[in-house]
């Protein structure tokens, strides 16, 4: 399948992921990691995308960490599952952040792939070796118990 959308991710083997939504343009990975499926988040200079107010519109790790801090996330050390917390992982290439994934309660991860589908993936590494670059930071927030 040379033109399969998933050929953008050479390490994303079929047994490592599950497609969980149809493709959509309405939200991206940064929004999806934040739990928002109605908005496209990005700190673009033109201001066409949503970005939390009072957060720098720049493609830096700090700007992304500040954006997620507006919804309760704080930096943490690793991707290990912690009871009572949900985590996100930030990917970056040499120019800055590219992608975010959110941890599911069972320790797997969920990602929205640009304008493509949402997927569940077993590891964070299966999206590396692509234009997403590598995981460079983790954040966590307490899960609110109902």
């Amino acid at each position: 399948m040379p033109d399969s959308p998933f050929c953008d991710f050479p390490d994303l083997h079929p047994n490592l992921h599950l497609i969980t939504s149809p493709p959509t343009q309405e939200y991206n990975c940064i929004a999806w990691a934040a739990g928002d499926s109605e908005t496209w988040w990005w700190p673009d200079e033109m201001g066409t995308s949503y970005w939390p107010s009072n957060t720098p519109r720049e493609r830096t790790l700090l700007a992304f960490q500040l954006a997620y801090s507006t919804i309760g996330y704080v930096p943490c050390e690793d991707a290990g599952r912690e009871d009572g917390f949900e985590k996100i992982a930030l990917y970056a290439d040499s120019e800055g952040p590219t992608h975010a994934a959110r941890q599911l309660p069972d320790g797997r991860w969920t990602s929205k792939l640009g304008r493509m589908e949402d997927i569940e993936h077993a590891t964070l590494e299966c999206l590396c070796n692509s234009h997403y670059g590598n995981v460079i930071a983790y954040m966590k927030r307490q899960v609110l118990s109902l």
């Binding site: 033109d3 959308p5 953008d8 991710f9 493709p23 343009q25 309405e26 991206n28 990975c29 940064i30 929004a31 109605e38 908005t39 496209w40 988040w41 990005w42 673009d44 200079e45 033109m46 201001g47 066409t48 995308s49 949503y50 970005w51 493609r59 590219t98 992608h99 929205k112 792939l113 640009g114 304008r115 493509m116 692509s130 234009h131």
Partner: protein
């Protein structure tokens, strides 16, 4: 009364508009211009109908070229950016930049595309038109942004 040099001047204006306007606007302009010419001798100058007949094939051909170019660039752009979340990367793609470079004629094509399928055309619309009808509260909400731009297009004769 007009002389040959004035006709030549009008032709230049028409040619200039041919490069940057769509066929409907061009036809309307042509009609307006031809209607304003007071021709001293009907035998020595072309009629409005003859002028229309002379110019319209070129206008239609130009419009078809633009539509084909837009379709091809749009296809390339969508294919190459499907897994990117960065609005900036999406907008900096060479095909997208070429669409911006098409200028005003691309506005109607973008809005037509946007009315059928949501996509990240907002950067191009702002860059080409120099306007921004999207309120702060709609930023990033593509359905609302598309509705704002389509309304802008209707108000300005592009949709």
């Amino acid at each position: 009364m007009i002389d040959v040099s004035q006709i030549s001047q009008i032709n230049s204006q028409i040619a200039a508009h041919m490069l940057c306007q769509d066929s409907e606007r061009m036809a309307s302009l042509l009609e307006q211009m031809c209607g304003s010419i007071r021709i001293p001798s009907p035998q020595s100058y072309p009629s409005q109908a003859e002028l229309m007949e002379f110019f319209m094939p070129g206008i239609h051909a130009r419009q078809t070229d633009i539509e084909e170019e837009f379709s091809e660039l749009s296809r390339q752009w969508k294919r190459d950016n499907r897994s990117s979340s960065s609005t900036t990367v999406i907008a900096m793609h060479p095909a997208y930049q070429r669409i911006i470079g098409m200028g005003t004629p691309a506005l109607r094509l973008i809005l037509r595309e946007l009315s059928g399928q949501l996509d990240h055309w907002f950067w191009a619309l702002r860059a080409i038109s120099g306007e921004d009808p999207v309120p702060e509260s709609h930023r990033g909400k593509l359905r609302l942004m598309a509705a704002d731009w389509l309304e802008w297009g209707r108000r300005n004769g592009y949709a």
